[in-house]
Symmetry: C2
Subunit: 127 residues, 2 copies
DNA sequence: GAAACTGTATTAGTCATATAATACAGTTGT
DNA sequence: ACAACTGTATTATATGACTAATACAGTTTC
């Protein structure tokens, strides 16, 4: 079932470039399964207007997603998600490991034990 | 026992501003206990030379740490760490919660269960 | 007191991010 | 065919992070 990638629950935060936030949102959606092979992406103009950012910013995110082989664009036509199991698995592993390792490094540098780190995450999970 | 804050195991990564990385390193050292009240900080020039960055970048980090009340500087003299239990506790809670929440949000957006998230962190902890 | 260190300040320049305005090329739907 | 959408490209501008060079003020040490 082909649908349009929903950007409803995407909100811009500060701290990292917007084009990276858009890329991450798409990748996380792919891992979650809410974005599937063949799905249609909102046009650059539509999404930039929806997010309140410049079309060039969306274009940059889309272009880099295309360079990673996750979407395809052709002048004049809509852009579509291009996925297979291998890509999905790769992204899932990449993102999970990256996030986990970042957290672990921070916690270790603070001298926090594995047990306390896990317990804090467990406790804060529902919120 | 007063010593000089050690920046030996600090390495610059790309992705976030260097002055923020320096601030984070100091804060994590405070939480870990390797940085204590009264400790002496390397001078702006010495640290910038050690890290291979511009003195202004170190100055920005130090100035913001001073604005947070974690260090004190006086023209002509060295800069020192100024801590008490309340500050340490506040920083510890702030950092732990920030890191945990960031990880949780990412994992949730990927549709990863709490159990799998915890298990991944547990597995990657030793590395 | 003088040298050698401290912190602080200013000015100029580069680079990445993002905005703004505009233009052109190709498609889709009627 | 034509209108209304697509993607793509260019030029100009602004801001934050960072570099570079330099200057000045205050301290510590001998």
């Amino acid at each position: 079932m082909v649908s349009t990638v929903p950007f409803d629950d995407f909100h811009i935060e500060d701290g990292s470039p917007v084009y990276l936030q858009i890329m991450l949102f798409v990748k996380r959606g792919i891992v979650a399964g809410s974005i599937q092979n063949g799905d249609e992406l909102p046009s650059r103009r539509v999404l930039s207007s929806l997010l309140g950012v410049n079309p060039n910013t969306v274009q940059k995110a889309y272009r880099m997603l295309e360079e990673e082989g996750l979407i395809q664009s052709h002048t004049g036509a809509k852009s579509y998600v291009v996925l297979d199991q291998a890509k999905k698995y790769r992204i899932r592993a990449e993102l999970m490991e990256a996030h986990a390792k970042a957290t672990i490094r921070a916690m270790r540098q603070m001298g926090i034990s594995k047990e306390e780190a896990l317990s804090v995450i467990d406790r804060l999970w529902e919120s």
